[in-house]
Symmetry: C2
């Protein structure tokens, strides 16, 4: 928690907090954004903005499908400049304002999805995003942690924070 | 395991085995059927047969929606003769022959789905069904166990076994 902002008006980028407990097949990510949650939600759920923030900076991202409603499906592809491509897909169990419950499968490990609940909480005009993932097994969870998920997630959140900050500036 | 059949040609109904480990947010159900898995799968995935086996005998069951393909949705309602109705719904992450991965939500506890993987294994012409559910938390898992899920699941499996046996007889 040491690198998260506590004061108002701080300009440094807040970082992502990871909750990864031994023996529990879950990962929880917590990140705060300097913007109202309706804006964060709007940016996150717009297929046109996904390529601008989803995934690490070193990869391009393409939206193959994003039908962001309860019962819809999504599929994103990202890749590097060496021709490697990685697919991810899932279904939306629930999409409502500021909350999404979806499955998440990395196609490199087929048939082993996780179930992800993303919630945006209003914290006095700012936003706390909590992303909770539960895995089919502890081994699956540990595999994701060992794959370097944390670096990728933090970079993704940094990119989202930058994009949200731009949109907020455009509003003023 | 004591009440499961081991010999060939046994005629008593095999029972459901439950794997519920302390501290692990999962439930695994194992049940064997005296029929080939393509028949078991066909019966399970047919919306017209759902009312004949899904849920305990004391309830009627209605299929509100069952689009049984990867990316489709389902919703079933069951009720008693006193006017009580209970809804269940989810999305199909994966539907392929003899394997289904789906979300499962009891609408009485909204926003707390589980992720369920159902697999039919061929065991020498008979079928072993393994249903693995992972929950958002250990508390959710324990709540489902305390709700009497085991009695309901066993009765559901008994009804499915009876239905499959009927269909098998019709084939001969």
């Amino acid at each position: 928690m040491s690198d998260r902002k506590t004061g108002k008006g701080a300009t440094t980028m807040a970082k992502t907090e990871f909750v990864i407990k031994p023996g529990v097949q879950e990962i929880t990510l917590i990140r705060e954004f300097d913007a109202p949650r309706n804006l964060v939600f709007k940016v996150m759920m717009d297929p046109n903005t996904i390529p601008k923030w989803w995934g690490p900076r070193a990869y391009w991202t393409k939206v193959d499908k994003m039908d962001a409603r309860s019962g819809g499906s999504w599929r994103f592809i990202h890749g590097d400049n060496k021709g490697n491509e990685y697919g991810f897909h899932g279904v939306y169990h629930l999409v409502e304002p500021n909350r999404v419950i979806q499955t998440f499968e990395f196609e490199g490990v087929p048939g082993r999805p996780s179930l992800e609940t993303m919630t945006l909480e209003d914290i006095g005009g700012r936003t706390r995003m909590v992303t909770h993932s539960v895995f089919l097994s502890l081994e699956d969870r540990d595999g994701v942690v060992q794959s370097g998920m944390q670096t990728g997630a933090e970079e993704t959140h940094d990119r989202l924070a930058e994009l949200v900050a731009e949109r907020l500036k455009d509003r003023h």
